[in-house]
């Protein structure tokens, strides 16, 4: 039937409650809109929070059920509305899911990352876990030709790491540290490498062993802080005792404390990981060494063209990140894999005809 399509939705506020449902077909694009055939949706920690329906999610998103999650997605332009000049039918595109208002004081300063009125597709409004979606053309970016479409959903988390660099990178920086080895940590590594850092060291735990192996295959230097003294290791690997910049992506109290200790005097810590409610901080270390803790949230609109530039150059590394490619009907399986930490990046392919031969590596 042409007037309905399949989607995965959070159908009620209870734990879990992700169900495949039929919804009306996405509308034809209006002025300055395009309709996308969704080909890939990354499942991320925020989706898990929606699955669990954490307190923060309940407070921040207050959606109308059913809510279609999925904010990391890419696809093919199916139909183009009036007034859209940068896109055409058949374009392979990634979508910035932050529908920034364009008129608040921060949008006017091109700081859409802190827009005051910004529904996020997949969080406040219906997102990408569906077959088709009509979206504002301003939020749609053409992927380089050499990027396989299933990797297009990585443009969103990659943009977070590119934006972290926008917030903290200085020309004089040489050695960077990344605390945390999840998808964002690995993407941060890829982004730092593309940004020209000479030495990049990833710090993880015993439980990150497999991810650190993967990082090594990408060429990263890694340190298991449960196995060796991280400061001695950092100096051995980089030739300097402390990091010029630290990307804190794990978001635990221990990782934040470590990140502050690891950065050099007058150095910057990019706070990317979403921290627990309260974090104890020894401010004497911040004061005496004039360190900077810099909040990083999502990305600006202007971050995305940079992401498109980078993503075409890092396809082999991204291929290593995607461990599973599943169908829409297998979304709950994807969530299970993530909850059990048996995967790295799982993508859902809502329009895949057949899944034969589609296992990721």
């Amino acid at each position: 039937m042409d007037n309905v399509m399949k989607a995965v939705a959070k159908v009620r506020s209870e734990y879990g409650s992700f169900e495949v449902i039929e919804v009306p077909m996405a509308k034809s694009p209006g002025d300055h809109e395009v309709k996308i055939r969704v080909e890939t949706v990354g499942i991320c920690g925020t989706d898990l929070s929606i699955y669990k329906w954490t307190e923060t999610v309940a407070r921040e998103y207050h959606p109308v059920f059913p809510l279609i999650p999925g904010h990391e997605f890419a696809g093919i332009v199916e139909e183009v509305g009036a007034g859209v000049s940068h896109l055409k039918v058949g374009d392979k595109v990634a979508i910035n899911p932050h529908i920034s208002c364009g008129i608040c004081p921060y949008c006017i300063q091109n700081r859409e990352s802190i827009c005051e009125n910004r529904p996020i597709l997949g969080c406040h409004a219906d997102g990408g876990l569906t077959q088709y979606l009509t979206v504002r053309a301003k939020n749609v970016f053409v992927l380089p030709a050499n990027v396989p479409i299933y990797l297009g959903s990585l443009a969103e988390p990659l943009s977070v790491t590119v934006h972290a660099l926008e917030r903290v990178q200085q020309k004089s920086d040489k050695a960077a540290a990344i605390v945390g080895v999840g998808t964002v940590g690995l993407l941060q590594y890829i982004a730092c490498k593309a940004a020209g850092y000479e030495d990049i060291v990833l710090f993880g735990l015993d439980s990150d062993q497999e991810r650190m192996e993967l990082a090594k295959r990408m060429g990263a230097k890694t340190v298991n802080i449960e196995k060796e003294d991280p400061y001695i290791a950092f100096e051995r690997l980089t030739g300097q005792p402390k990091a010029d910049v630290v990307f804190e992506v794990a978001g635990t109290n221990d990782s934040i404390t470590f990140a502050i200790d690891l950065v050099k005097t007058a150095g910057k810590v990019a706070m990317v990981g979403i921290a627990a409610s309260y974090t104890p901080i020894d401010t004497t270390k911040v004061v005496f060494a004039e360190k900077e803790l810099i909040g990083v949230r999502a990305y600006n609109l202007s971050t995305w063209p940079k992401t498109m530039e980078i993503i075409g150059k890092i396809v082999p590394q991204l291929e290593l990140l995607v461990t599973h490619r599943l169908s829409l009907a297998e979304t709950n399986k994807a969530v299970e894999l993530l909850l059990k930490r048996q995967c790295l990046k799982v993508v859902i392919e809502p329009n895949a005809e057949s899944l034969a031969g589609r296992e990721g590596r």
């Binding site: 700081r111 978001g251 901080i281 020894d282 401010t283 911040v286 005496f288 060494a289 803790l293």
Partner: protein, 341 residues
Amino acid sequence: MGMKSLITGAPGARLHTAAIPEPRQGEVLVRVKITAICGTDIHIFNWNKWAAGIGIKPGNILGHECVAEVVKLGEGVESLALGDRVCIETHIPCEDCSLCKNGNMHICENKRIFSLHTDGCFAEYAVVPAVCARKVPDFIPDDLASILEPLGVGVHAAQVGNVQGKRVVVLGAGPIGLFSACASLALGAHSVTISDVKNTRLEVASMCGDMHIWNPLEISASAMLGSRSSAPEVIIETTGSNQAIAETLPYLREKGKVAMVGLYSGDVSLNLSRDVIYKEATVEGVHGRLMWDTWDVMENLLLEKKLNVRPAITHEFALEDYEEGFRIASSGEGTKVLLKP
């Protein structure tokens, strides 16, 4: 020949007749005109855990905020002449590390602190490394010159806060808070609100310029800062009180800045996601003053009569009356208390 000096009693302090020291290579001997009491001196006077743990030698001379006159040059000193009127930059840099070589001498990793790692200047004479003796322009009178060192911390904090055109909240109306507020006004802040739990301190603040005063025991943070037109873009924290920053930080605007100056006795607990990450705010430590950028800016602001800090000087005593001076400074009854040797 001997000289009057005030030495640490660990705890307390006592007057002592010491030998007039000799400047070594790269040092100068100065005759002290006025020395101001700083919070650090009070910590050492009270001999709290911090003071007892930083390796101050027994009988060390206290004091570091002063104006003095150069009376003898050590070997190799060419940057100063006899009769020069100087202040002391308290952070003694190694001049050799990468921080020193990149404009960050004030946070040199090998730095020593004048009056902690050396004898101080609650005395008739003191020996000062020539690199730390800052010539004072003639237009600045002695009493103001004696508080340039702490005033510099306030100017530095306002510089870090990038306060021009912004709504600024300064937590704490002790000397550093007050100077941060005065500097914020001088550097063109849109508005400045200063908080303290002691009304005597807020009264002094209201004499220093057109700032809003706020006693959080009388008005809640939400009443003071909770509306869009009152939420700060910059917070300068000088209290070292977890409660002060924890109650104020939720009202910081997006892309706001916290200049952290105050030192906490323990960890401070912050909601980083809500108050820093989601807002893309920045928390930055501020320590001392830039050598010499901050001093240059401060002197220019004083010359242009934009920094009105004279009301901060609330008391003056002879060095012999140090006990009363320390009592007034530590009780919050006074703001800056000066001692004349």
